[in-house]
């Protein structure tokens, strides 16, 4: 019998090694798998490369992971926010590396990794600093930049409902990077608010088919409240 459900978030991440590349879902706090990021702190893996849209908010979730000293490098599109002080201080102190990626390139590079695409040409970023040094090609009269996939050793995502085969459905804009990150990682781990029997998610409503998911864990829903910026305008 296939059963991808594991007892706890800590157990789900017990084999994460130092230096792993970890794709973490979420856009700001929507879809951020905070139970899993907390479990990663418990696991204590170091020198991690983290891929997320942002670079942490307040002192929870991804920010807590950075504050705990687990992260060597972050790949993201929008690090600077009113409440990103943990990242800001690490970056200014030279303690964390940043690879800034246009958001659509971030998404498409992750999708490409999941779909077995070796590289792709995109118009985004052509002629800008973020494409400096990259291969370009003119195709059909338009200029494109060559971009490579982003593979993950692990993906940590937050979904709404899952079953023991790993099928997932999401909740509103918390879906964001979840589906593509599950595809792009060797081991995708989902935290879900509800685990249902097989068939409990209607096949028409499965967003991430179980083949892309290795482990899932049930977690309690945490009602998110935004953190106030520290002495800055929101």
């Amino acid at each position: 019998m296939i059963n991808k459900v594991v007892e706890s978030a800590v157990q789900a991440l017990a084999d994460v090694p130092d230096g792993a590349t970890i794709l973490i879902g979420g856009f700001g706090s929507a879809g951020l798998p905070t139970h899993l990021t907390d479990a990663l702190i418990v696991r204590g893996a170091r020198e991690l490369t983290i891929v997320n849209n942002n670079a942490g908010n307040g002192e929870h979730g991804l920010a807590a992971l950075m504050k705990a000293g687990c992260v060597r490098k972050i790949v993201c599109s929008f690090p600077r926010q009113a409440d990103s002080w943990v990242f800001d201080e690490l970056w200014r102190a030279g303690k964390i590396e940043l690879e800034l990626v246009p958001q659509g390139n971030l998404a498409e590079r992750i999708r490409a990794a999941g779909a077995g695409i070796a590289a792709f040409f995109t118009a985004t970023g052509y002629g800008t600093e973020l494409a400096r040094g990259k291969e370009t090609r003119r195709i059909g009269g338009r200029d494109y930049v060559l971009e490579y996939p982003i593979h993950g050793d692990y993906a940590l995502v937050a979904a709404e409902t899952g079953d023991r085969w790993g099928n997932l459905s999401y909740r509103m804009t918390a879906r964001n990077f979840g589906p593509i990150m599950c595809m792009a990682a060797r081991i995708a781990v989902a935290q879900v608010h509800e685990i249902v029997e097989l068939g409990g998610i209607h096949p028409e409503h499965v967003v991430t088919p179980g083949i892309f998911v290795k482990r899932l864990v049930h977690v309690e829903r945490v009602r998110y409240k935004p953190t106030a910026a520290r002495g800055e305008e929101q």
Binding site: F27, G28, S29, A30, G31, N53, S77, F78, P79, R80, Q81, F87, D88, W91, R92, L98, L100, V101, P102, Q103, G104, N105, L106, A107, E108, I110, R111, T122, A123, T124, G125, Y126, G127, T128, E129, L130, Y170, R171, M172, T173, A174, R175, N176, F177, G178, P179, I180, V207, R223, Y224, K225, P226
Partner: protein
């Protein structure tokens, strides 16, 4: 004495020019004001980059749900007919040329339509790009909404951008507190001049050639 357009007036100018049926992405900051000025009888679909088409206004106090947010990470609502989708699909809407109009803020716009809006280039500044480059290269029309002058009084419409570029030759229209400027292959053309401002004065302030927009 020049009576500058208020931010709401600028937003009204943008809203006036968005046609029925358009799929539109409004950037964070000033462009979000545009949503308040779209006439109720005109059906326009707002896209939010984080995976929502058919975005509605902010919810009533107490009904905020942080699983339903906009690009600025503020709580919003989903209108009847709305859809949710993952990030690669969301950016395919931009990159695949499906989005009709995006409205962005800017540091500088050049006469050739070059856009600079993601980074000042200052070594201390932490760069953040988000979806700006995807919108700049992918949306069918890129409109910019910005103050005409910097705090130091320098024109943000320039011959050549000095800040790092977001996109090349992408901007077709700029809505400022002084005028609305159309960028065309044959040059810049201004309408919506603020009260008391002449075209000659606008040209002098901007430091670039600007013609009058025909009726």
């Amino acid at each position: 004495m020049i009576a500058r357009h208020s931010r709401d007036q600028m937003a009204r100018h943008v809203a006036r020019d968005i046609p029925e049926g358009a799929y539109v992405n409004l950037g964070i900051g000033m462009p979000t004001l545009v949503a308040n000025h779209i006439p109720p009888e005109r059906e326009i679909v707002l896209q939010s980059e984080n995976g929502l088409l058919g975005m509605g206004p902010a919810p009533a106090a107490g009904l905020e749900d942080y699983d339903l947010i906009n690009a600025g990470k503020q709580p919003v609502t989903a209108l009847p007919g709305a859809s949710f989708f993952h990030h690669a699909d969301s950016f395919a809407m931009m990159r695949g040329g499906h989005l009709d109009i995006c409205v962005l803020g800017a540091f500088q716009v050049a006469v050739n339509g070059d856009l600079a809006n993601w980074h000042t280039g200052a070594p201390e500044a932490i760069p953040a790009v988000g979806g700006a480059m995807d919108l700049a290269s992918g949306a069918k029309e890129v409109y910019v909404m910005m103050e005409h002058l910097t705090k130091q009084g320098k024109s943000k419409i320039v011959e050549r951008c000095t800040y790092p570029l977001t996109g090349l030759g992408c901007v077709t229209r700029v809505y400022t507190d002084l005028a609305t400027i159309h960028i065309r292959p044959e040059g810049l053309f201004a309408g919506d001049l603020s009260k008391g401002l002449t075209l000659e004065e606008l040209e002098r302030i901007s430091g670039v050639r600007i013609g009058a927009l025909g009726p």
